[in-house]
Amino acid sequence: DAGVTQSPTHLIKTRGQHVTLRCSPISGHKSVSWYQQVLGQGPQFIFQYYEKEERGRGNFPDRFSARQFPNYSSELNVNALLLGDSALYLCASSPRPGDGLNYGYTFGSGTRLTVV
């Protein structure tokens, strides 16, 4: 079975541009979460989606948005990119939101975004 897949693996963008990152959860998993990992730090929670609805949001500006599709895949969008948005963006899936919190998430390998 395929794990959590993220695309692209690497991306370079210029300040002020927009970026879209994609995530496909494990088959059967309906909950997707997004995390930002800045170099040298632990991941920080951005969003969680379940059944196409937002179930949680971290302390990130409105430039960050996400959505989930009927097939449970998800997109993370970031507008007006700043240098500080450079990070590894991780997607995590679980069957339901509580499953990941209680039993652990399955993470993808991430998308490394560099803003220049």
Partner: protein, 113 residues
């Protein structure tokens, strides 16, 4: 508020010697705690979890952790380090009433041959 503090940013051990990665937690209630490992260019992998059952938790690859409420600690140990254990390790606490996890800053484990 929930948070974790990883006391060492970098730990170096010789192959075959014990591993100790330290984590203290802060929580206003009985926490759910996790250890995740991150190998270079790979996703985070769950090592073990504590969810108010047994205080000594056994995980994958020979790792275990002990929940000590009196010390607010959840240290990760392994009796004998292997070269493949070299990675970044994160102590994690579940957020209260929120669908998220709070990660520590990580401990990089180096294993010397």
């Amino acid at each position: 508020a929930q948070s974790v503090t990883q006391l060492d940013s970098h730990v170096s051990v010789s192959e075959g010697t014990p591993v100790l990665l330290r984590c203290n937690y802060s929580s206003s209630y009985s926490p759910s705690l996790f250890w995740y490992v991150q190998h270079p260019n790979k996703g985070l992998q769950l090592l073990l979890k504590y969810t108010s059952a047994a205080t000594l938790v056994k995980g994958i690859n020979g790792f275990e952790a002990e929940f000590k409420k009196s010390e607010t600690s959840f240290h990760l140990t392994k009796p004998s380090a292997h070269m493949s254990d070299a990675a970044e390790y994160f102590c994690v606490v579940r957020g209260l009433g929120a669908n998220n996890l709070f990660f520590g800053t990580g401990t990089r484990l180096t294993v010397i041959p």
